[in-house]
């Protein structure tokens, strides 16, 4: 499983990465002591799929593929896709604390004082 993950980290082609992570997920699911790892690899493939969808919606102008959950939220916020950011938060059960930090930092770096006021 770890080998598949290492392979995934070296590859660049999205579909190859996804299938390598899926392979890792399969290995982990077969081991009852690896439920956490299985869950995480599953989340990972879900995120990769969602990121491809986001890229499509941004007309390929923004890169999402391969970012972490937090980075995905930040990138959404920085590109005016606040609704999508909320969706990531909900789908991946991101704790409020981390989400609000991300939002605060994103708004500050965009100097969006209006939104900061209503924060």
């Amino acid at each position: 499983a770890v080998l598949s993950l290492e392979e995934a980290s070296r590859m660049t082609d999205p579909s190859a990465v996804t299938s390598a992570v899926k392979a890792a997920h399969k290995f982990f699911s077969e081991d009852k002591d690896r439920t956490f790892e299985a869950k995480m690899t599953d989340e990972s493939t879900r995120l990769l799929a969602f990121q491809q969808q986001l890229e499509k919606e941004a007309d390929g102008k923004v890169t999402f593929f391969g970012l972490s959950v937090s980075e995905t939220i930040r990138t959404c916020l920085l590109n005016g896709m606040a609704k999508k950011a909320d969706r990531v938060k909900a789908d991946f059960k991101v704790p409020d604390k981390r989400f609000w930090y991300l939002k605060l930092h994103a708004l500050t770096s965009m100097r969006d004082f209006e939104a900061l006021d209503t924060f």
Binding site: L5, F36, P95
Partner: protein, 675 residues
């Protein structure tokens, strides 16, 4: 004084000379002009033994990094110099095959560092190019990186042993330690702790293959023969590297990064001001934090941090960073006075005298600028919320104070966007000090971490929990856990007491903080160095020997009253402490040249009270700058014994975590090399 102490320590220049000579011999063994293809991770270590001009003088026409892709060479000879890693051999094989397809004729020589390996020949054979390559070795072993420190500069040693299960570096360490014996005399006794340390000791106590040492170098005159070799492996004390180093050099490594003694700094810090003007004392750098803030896009340049040519660095490197500012100020004032002294120069002779000193003043002036600049990079970082929260969590964990609250404090750091390595270090520290993290909070924090930094860190988390490393564990352990993991539980709270690790911060103890090895972590003593004290300075474990020296100094008797170090008596007195720690404990009497294996003779015990002897301390898996600083402190408490610190490399918690994650230092970017 410093000069006298230096005289009594071993002259390490021979090691550098041997490294250099062996490289020359290797290059000269290939006749004519050659193209050198260099393993990027060797550039730093080689830079410590040689300079580019030396390579040019020995026929190196052009240099390239060893990296995937085609290689074009104008010379017939192509010389590869690399560590014996599979990925490198594959690149080499690929380049040879490309040349063959283009029917280019080249002669290939491969120098493996530090020695050849059958694995390499096998891969070359599989690739069908074995017949095209002459395989040899460049035996690069210990490189002196300070007047009392030698290093193999093998940055990945820890990961190779404890994660990959590759023990090559243990064997290479044995060979390098054996070379030291051949140069400076035998180790009468090998004492140590740790399973891998024990394996190394066993290798050393058996005959090892003869290693050629280049003939023409000055055999060192040994004034302080070895009294013993102490070997600790990194697993014996994983806590120390997980903490934030608080000495000057340690903090530079933590916050800027030191690689092969080199640190990357803004160019403006490294170039002397165009016109140093002694007439204007205001040109001295201010020690306030306002002056030099590195601009983000300023050009960076590598600087070799060394006490050999930088007396201020020698003075500051081991100080707790909190006192560096004060010392910078003192030096600035002294320099100012020295510049002003020219006003007192009345006669031509006095003036000449001042001019003679000017060069020294100016280089000191430049050193002052440099260290002021470095401090000004460090200070703002030490004032950030994340830095201070991380320190606070470390202190709480070391004191077992509100342990469960620390996990949520670590979660806060993740939310605030702290660096991944900071978070992972704290987690491992929590696990080791408390005997594991509650399964439920461990799982949620691991999930948090993967979401924040990327799911690609899952293999890192798995490595940290896997045996033999086992530094990130749930508590209680799941029933399915291997017994070896359960057995490796670290008795931290017991050690905290028996090894006097934590110096209370009550006012009476404050002085002691300054006068105990715990100064390197502002009140915490590294376990590794306490263990060395168990062997070489027994009273220093139980109480603070510096107090006696201090009262003597107050009496005006000064350091001449320093006591002689006691002879090496093994672990005596601390057997129980050692037995409670995981890993083998050993104490081996070495056979003398005459096959004599009797315990240390009376004469050797007597000698140790009259003559200075050297205790070699070898860290298998790396040591931190704070451990070096702490050992130097121990060194200063006695006369009659010097430490020679030997290590596979210099590590920090950050570098360990990054090497396990596989995102270690990236190779240099450009294709053309400069060492």
């Amino acid at each position: 004084s410093l000069g006298r102490e230096r005289d009594q320590s071993l002259n390490l220049d021979s090691l550098k000379e041997i490294g250099k000579k062996a490289l020359i011999d290797a290059l000269n063994s290939v006749n004519g002009a050659k193209t050198l293809v260099l393993d990027p991770t060797l550039a730093g270590p080689l830079g410590l033994v040689t300079e580019v001009s030396l390579l040019k003088h020995h026929g190196v026409d052009k240099m390239f990094w060893l990296e995937p892709g085609p290689l074009s060479s104008t010379t017939t000879n192509i010389v590869y110099l690399c560590r014996p890693l599979i990925k490198y051999v594959k690149i080499l094989a690929d380049q040879i095959k490309r040349h063959a397809r283009e029917s280019l004729k080249h002669r290939y020589t491969l120098f493996l560092v530090p020695r050849t390996s059958t694995l390499v020949s096998r891969i070359l054979e599989e690739e069908g190019v074995l017949g095209d390559v002459t395989i040899s070795s460049y035996n690069l072993q210990f490189i002196p990186i300070a007047e009392d420190v030698v290093s193999l500069e093998q940055d990945n040693a820890f990961k190779e042993i404890w994660v990959d299960g590759d023990e090559t570096v243990i064997y290479n360490s044995a060979l390098a330690l054996d070379t030291l014996q051949k140069l400076y005399g035998p180790y009468p006794r090998i004492i140590g702790k740790g399973d891998y340390a024990s394996r190394l000791a066993t290798l050393l106590s058996r005959p090892l293959p003869e290693q050629p040492i280049p003939g023409e170098f000055n055999k060192p005159v040994v004034t302080a023969p070895f009294d013993s070799l102490i070997i600790l492996d990194r697993q014996v004390d994983m806590i120390t590297p997980l903490l934030t180093q608080l000495t000057y050099e340690g903090l530079i490594d933590e916050l800027i990064g030191i690689s092969n003694s080199q640190v990357e700094l803004p160019v403006s810090l490294l170039t002397p001001p165009s016109a140093p003007n002694p007439a204007n004392p205001a040109s001295l750098p201010s020690t306030s934090a306002a002056a030099v803030t590195p601009v983000n896009n300023e050009k960076m340049k590598k600087h070799h941090l060394t006490a050999a040519t930088d007396p201020l660095f020698a003075e500051f490197r081991d100080l707790n960073f909190s006192s560096v500012g004060k010392n910078l100020n003192r030096v600035a004032h002294r320099l100012d006075e020295d510049y002003k002294s020219r006003h007192q120069a009345k006669t031509p002779a006095q003036l000449r005298d001042f001019v003679g000193k000017l060069g020294g003043l100016q280089s000191e002036h430049q050193a002052l600028r440099l260290h002021t600049g470095i401090s000004e990079i460090l200070v703002p970082i030490t004032r950030t919320d994340i830095f201070n929260k991380s320190l606070e969590i470390q202190q709480n964990l070391l004191a077992s104070y509100e342990v469960s609250k620390q996990t949520s404090a670590i979660e806060d750091l993740i939310a605030q966007g702290a660096e991944m390595q900071i978070v992972v270090r704290l987690l491992c520290l929590a696990s080791i000090t408390a005997g594991g993290i509650k399964a439920k909070s461990l799982e949620s924090i691991k999930r948090d971490l993967l979401q924040a930094y990327g799911y690609n860190y899952l293999p890192l988390l798995l490595s940290l929990s896997a045996s033999p490393l086992s530094i990130l564990l749930p508590n209680p352990l799941p029933v399915s856990t291997a017994p070896s993991v359960a057995a490796s539980k670290y008795p931290f709270t017991t050690l905290r007491k028996s090894l006097r690790l934590l110096i209370d911060d009550n006012p009476d103890a404050l002085d002691e903080v300054e006068n105990d090895i715990s100064f390197v972590y502002s009140g915490y003593a590294p376990i590794s160095v306490r263990l060395i004290q168990c062997i070489a300075q027994k009273n220093g474990v139980i109480s603070n020997p510096a107090e006696k020296v201090l009262t003597d100094e107050a009496d005006g008797k000064g350091s001449s009253k320093k006591l002689y170090a006691h002879p090496i008596l093994g672990w005596k007195g601390f057997e129980d402490v050692l037995a409670a720690m995981p890993g083998k404990t050993f104490d081996i009497m070495q056979k003398g040249p005459g096959g004599d294996s009797s315990p240390p003779s009376i004469s050797s015990l007597l000698r140790s009270s009259e003559q200075t002897s050297t205790t070699v301390v070898f860290f298998l898996g790396g040591c931190t700058y704070t451990e070096i600083a702490a050992l130097r402190w121990v060194n200063r408490q006695h006369k009659g014994r010097k430490f020679l610190i030997a290590t596979t490399g210099i590590v920090s918690g950050g570098s360990l975590i990054e090497s396990i994650a596989g995102f270690g230092k990236k190779g240099p970017g450009s294709k053309d090399t400069s060492i």
